[in-house]
């Protein structure tokens, strides 16, 4: 039982990975047959071990597929609303999208005081997309992986935000924009000055020269911590949530009484998770706005 539980959890936490296995790699299939690859092969990983052996040049097909799919779905929705948008009386779906847009616009205007036409659409994209990706967490954990397994796909992780690659990719994008706008607004000198002359700033140039390395060390850590915390916060929350869903799902195989308890717990956790999902999407958006706002501020 313990072994199968571990396997169950491991199976749920493994991404469907497509990558290149190196030459001479020894593959072991389900029946224990060994096969040594004659040359480097692009293929789907059949185990977590294979996936990690593929190294950097591998893709989590499920994470990317679901996230891009959801992104396209969202953009299709938004585009439809944008096409139909007019100053008449909005109805139903139109109203919903406009409510969302207004909410994002208000949040941006409250926090971001510079002039940059990218911030608001960026925030809308983040909020909508992260929310949808998080929302996949509410799909019962076993349904899609099971269906996929029957269709011959070995792994399937349907919540993209439980994949650190996804969340870190978004955080890195935001970070890149932070650096870009910092330099554009303050100039390269201004940006460097910000890193080198804070938090220790003294009049004496000799002393200041001594402080510069300390300042650089502190400020660079603070700077780099922003995208890392941004990405890992989202990942951590969703990963933990997913993990609890999986753990509760284990109860289903432990008899009728515990199975019923598991059902109730799944439901309760899902209800609570609605809050987490929305909150994390909102936090990611607000922090992005705050970081970009800081990038635009000239001291």
């Amino acid at each position: 039982m313990a072994g199968s539980s571990t396997d169950y959890i491991k199976h749920h936490l493994t991404n469907l990975t497509y990558g290149k296995l190196p030459e001479g790699y020894e593959r072991v299939d389900h029946d224990g047959n060994r096969e040594v690859l004659q040359e480097g092969t692009w293929t789907f990983a059949h185990s977590a071990q294979e996936a990690s052996d593929m190294g950097f040049w591998a893709f989590h097909v499920d994470s990317l597929g679901w996230s891009i799919g959801l992104g396209i779905l969202m953009m299709w929705f938004f585009r439809r609303a944008a096409k139909k948008a007019n100053s008449g009386v909005p109805t139903g779906f139109q109203n919903f999208v406009e409510m969302l847009v207004e909410f994002v616009d208000k949040t941006v205007k409250e926090t971001f005081h510079g002039r940059n036409p990218i911030v608001a659409p960026l925030s809308l994209t983040i909020f909508g997309w992260v929310f949808l990706m998080n929302l996949m967490d509410l799909v019962p954990v076993d349904i899609i992986p099971k269906v996929m397994e029957l269709a011959g796909v070995p792994f399937q992780k349907i919540v993209p935000t439980t994949d650190p690659n996804i969340t870190m990719a978004m955080a890195i994008t935001v970070f890149t924009m932070m650096i870009y706008y910092s330099i554009r607004v303050k100039g390269i000198g201004g940006f460097m000055g910000e890193l080198a002359l804070h938090p220790f700033n003294v009049k004496n140039p000799f002393l200041q020269a001594l402080f510069i390395p300390v300042n650089l060390f502190l400020e660079i850590i603070a700077l780099v911590a922003k995208p890392i915390s941004l990405g890992l916060r989202l990942f951590g929350n969703l990963y933990a949530g997913e993990m609890i869903f999986i753990l509760i799902a284990l109860l289903f195989s432990a008899g009728l009484a515990l199975g019923l308890l598991g059902g109730v717990l799944q439901w309760a956790w899902a209800v609570f998770h609605i809050l987490v999902i929305t909150l994390q999407a909102f936090i990611f958006m607000v922090l992005t706005i705050v970081y970009l706002s800081m990038a635009h501020e000239d001291h």
């Binding site: 936490l13 991404n15 990975t17 990558g19 996936a51 990690s52 593929m54 190294g55 950097f56 040049w57 591998a58 893709f59 989590h60 994470s63 990317l64 996230s67 891009i68 992104g71 969202m74 953009m75 938004f78 585009r79 609303a81 944008a82 096409k83 948008a85 007019n86 100053s87 008449g88 909005p90 999208v97 406009e98 847009v101 207004e102 616009d105 036409p117 990218i118 608001a120 659409p121 960026l122 809308l124 994209t125 997309w129 994949d163 650190p164 690659n165 996804i166 870190m168 990719a169 978004m170 890195i172 994008t173």
Partner: protein, 156 residues
């Protein structure tokens, strides 16, 4: 939980979605919403103005109605006055006419009476003559006595 090229794929996807949202979604929605906001503000203002106009018109109407009522009551009063005046006048006229008629009738009556008296006098004189003739059994020379008889008749 391996860090791999998924990262790069997601960065590209994210950039594309941001670009799409910025280019094809956000401006349209914001434009429509701003336009609607303006429209609603205009509409509200127009409604306010209309309300003000309505109030003014109502006030004006009330004043006009009051004036009309006053005028009407004036007219009615005047008419009443005129009517009573007319009634008085016609009463007066009728009274005068009556008096005039009465006077005329009285005059006529007097005239009739006089004429009757005259006739009576003549008949009496004739009767007197006839009576006297009968009494005297002789014919009286009418010419000789007519003066006497006429004098007698006038005395009657």
């Amino acid at each position: 939980m391996n860090v791999n090229a998924t990262l790069i794929g997601q960065i590209i996807a994210f950039a594309v979605f941001i670009w799409f949202c910025m280019k094809y979604v956000w401006p349209f929605l914001i434009k429509a919403m701003d336009e609607r906001q303006k429209k609603i503000a205009d509409g509200l203002e127009a409604a306010n103005r209309a309300e003000r106009d309505l109030k003014l018109a109502q006030e004006k109407a009330t004043t006009q109605i009051r004036e009309a009522k006053e005028q009407a009551s004036d007219i009615i009063e005047q008419a009443n006055k005129r009517a009573s005046q007319l009634i008085d006048e016609s009463k007066e006229q009728a009274r005068k006419e009556g008096e005039r008629l009465k006077a005329a009738a009285q005059a006529e009556i007097e005239q009739e009476v006089n004429r009757a008296k005259e006739q009576l006098r003549q008949q009496i004189s004739a009767l007197a003559v006839a009576g006297a003739a009968k009494i005297l059994e002789t014919s009286i020379d009418e010419k000789a006595h007519s003066e006497l008889i006429n004098k007698l008749a006038e005395e009657l």
